[in-house]
């Protein structure tokens, strides 16, 4: 393999930062007590866990008692949505969007099987949900609205604050999957009017296998799992202590650095978009401005995403694709379909998601390697020759 690695798949996951790993180290072999234990080794660990909870809360403008640690973004989403549904005596109505992550969409589909009914709101060609459509979809039976803060594929930022006001005015619970946003852009749960917010540490240079759910004081859900009384019974089981510590440190660092990082990533992002579009027959997916600082999603016309990915990979560039062939499913991404891309264009999509370690040289490198790859693949393509 090439020794050079230009990692541009931060939307999938990120490396743990040195400061974060250093904070975690003592909790494997030294401070290993169970935070539920009464003895000193346990109590010390309890204290560290609660400090991490406070850090997490502070990063979101929340109270520590509103933060529940989970095993990741998927679990946070499931607890919020399914828990809210389970809390109800009878089936009800859910509003979500057609571009949510599967960890929301598939929960909704499962809840439909159980008798609930769901409105999957459409989005415009940039991937935006219109808050007016949320308002219109509300019925007397609507009990929860779930709209993601930013889309993981095309990076589009949703008008969460506006949707939050609609939900609040109607007295309906509002959940936002902020897995892609926390640590990238400022988030304040009160400002956003959310009742639930999901996050995952591994998206902002924290460890995998740990996440959190913000749940507003007074909101009640029926827990999915039963067992011990950890996380006030919302998420029982011995705490993933090193994970919790890592999450606390990672969120604290990431949020404190947003101002500088956001500007840097936006600059690199826009340079990369411009350079890729310069190849010709390349279109940007997602909103040109309202998008995650590190997200670049383009469709290379006439060629297929997996082939592009494999070719990039051979040059040491790690990216991802919404093509069916790369996902293991046979359909192209539901997000690309929802913004109206035709099949071939959707199949040619590639996502470069920038993060912490990326530099100007990385952009140069990609812009040097991508054109010949595209050219080579196009030279093989029947649709390119027939265009």
């Amino acid at each position: 393999m090439k020794s050079r690695l230009v990692y541009m798949d931060h939307g999938a996951t990120t490396p743990v930062r040195k400061e974060v790993f250093d904070a975690m180290i003592p909790f494997f072999q030294e401070q290993y007590g169970n935070p539920s234990s009464l003895h000193t080794p346990g109590r010390k660990v309890r204290q560290a866990v609660e400090e991490a909870r406070e850090k997490t809360a502070r990063a979101l403008g929340a109270g520590a008692e509103d933060i529940y640690f989970t095993a990741g973004g998927t679990e946070s989403n499931n607890i919020a949505l399914r828990g809210a549904a389970k809390e109800r005596a009878k089936p009800g109505h859910i509003i979500t969007s057609s571009v949510e992550h599967h960890a929301v969409l598939d929960v909704c589909q499962d809840l439909e099987r159980e008798g609930h009914w769901v409105t999957y709101l459409p989005v415009d060609q940039d991937g935006l949900v219109d808050p007016e459509t949320v308002k219109e979809a509300i019925t007397g039976d609507t009990f929860i609205i779930s709209i993601m803060a930013a889309n993981n594929e095309i990076g589009t930022l949703q008008p969460i604050r506006e949707i939050g006001s609609v939900a609040r005015d109607c007295g309906i619970l509002f959940h936002t999957d902020a897995v892609q946003v926390v640590g990238q852009l400022p988030v304040d749960v009160n400002d956003l009017n959310v009742d639930f917010l999901s996050l995952a540490a591994h998206k902002f240079n924290g460890p995998k296998g740990i996440g959190a759910l913000y749940m507003k004081k007074g909101v009640k859900v029926d827990p999915l799992y039963r067992g011990g009384s950890q996380e006030r019974k919302l998420r029982p089981g011995t705490e993933n202590v090193p994970g919790v510590i890592g999450l606390g440190r990672a969120v604290e660092l990431a949020v404190s650095e947003i101002p500088g990082k956001q500007k840097k990533l936006e600059y690199l992002r826009d340079r990369l978009i411009e350079g890729l579009i310069g190849i010709g027959d390349v279109v940007l997916n997602g909103h040109p401005q309202k998008r995650l600082p590190g997200n670049v999603n383009v469709s290379f016309k006439y060629i297929e995403g997996e082939s592009v990915l494999l070719s990039l990979d051979m040059e040491g560039i790690a990216a991802s694709s919404g093509s069916a062939c790369s996902s293991g499913s046979l359909e192209p991404s539901h997000v690309l379909s929802a913004i109206g891309l035709d099949h071939p264009t959707a199949h040619g999509s590639v996502r470069f998601s920038l993060g912490f370690g990326n530099s100007e040289e990385d952009i140069d490198y990609v812009l040097e390697k991508a054109p010949p790859i595209v050219e080579r693949l196009r030279s093989m393509s029947p649709t390119y020759h027939a265009r």
Partner: protein
């Protein structure tokens, strides 16, 4: 995911391109995954003298197209018609299960090209 042989064919695909005066052209596409494939054959003395392909497809599609063209070049049309998708996958040393359908395009396109060739021949004979 893909083995070395697959990646080698993906990287250096044999017989890419088109044959302007082909004796048979086969096209096929997967509605499911969106891949498209076009195959050209040149036949002489009932043997596949030349073969070329074009594909809009993933790694498996490109590699199996390349592999197939190598496998059938020089074979008689009847021999070539016996080559199955499984033969191509086997010759590549295996493909990930979820990628088998992508590789199916290659042999399917060949069948279509052979049918096209025969069609032409019949038409020419009946002239």
């Amino acid at each position: 995911m893909y083995n070395d042989k697959v990646m080698e064919h993906f990287n250096n695909p044999r017989n890419v391109g088109e044959i302007p005066d082909a004796d048979g052209v086969g096209e096929t596409g997967s509605f499911k995954c969106g891949d498209t494939m076009k195959l050209y054959i040149k036949v002489k003395n009932d043997r596949i003298e030349d073969i070329k392909f074009q594909t809009f497809g993933c790694g498996a599609a490109i590699a199996s197209s390349s592999m197939l063209t190598e496998m059938v070049k020089g074979k008689t049309v009847e021999e070539a018609a016996q080559v199955t998708n499984q033969d191509v996958a086997d010759e590549l040393g295996g493909l990930p299960p979820m990628k088998l359908h992508c590789s199916n395009l290659a042999a399917d396109a060949l069948q279509n090209a052979i049918a096209d060739y025969k069609d032409h021949k019949i038409k020419q004979q009946s002239l």
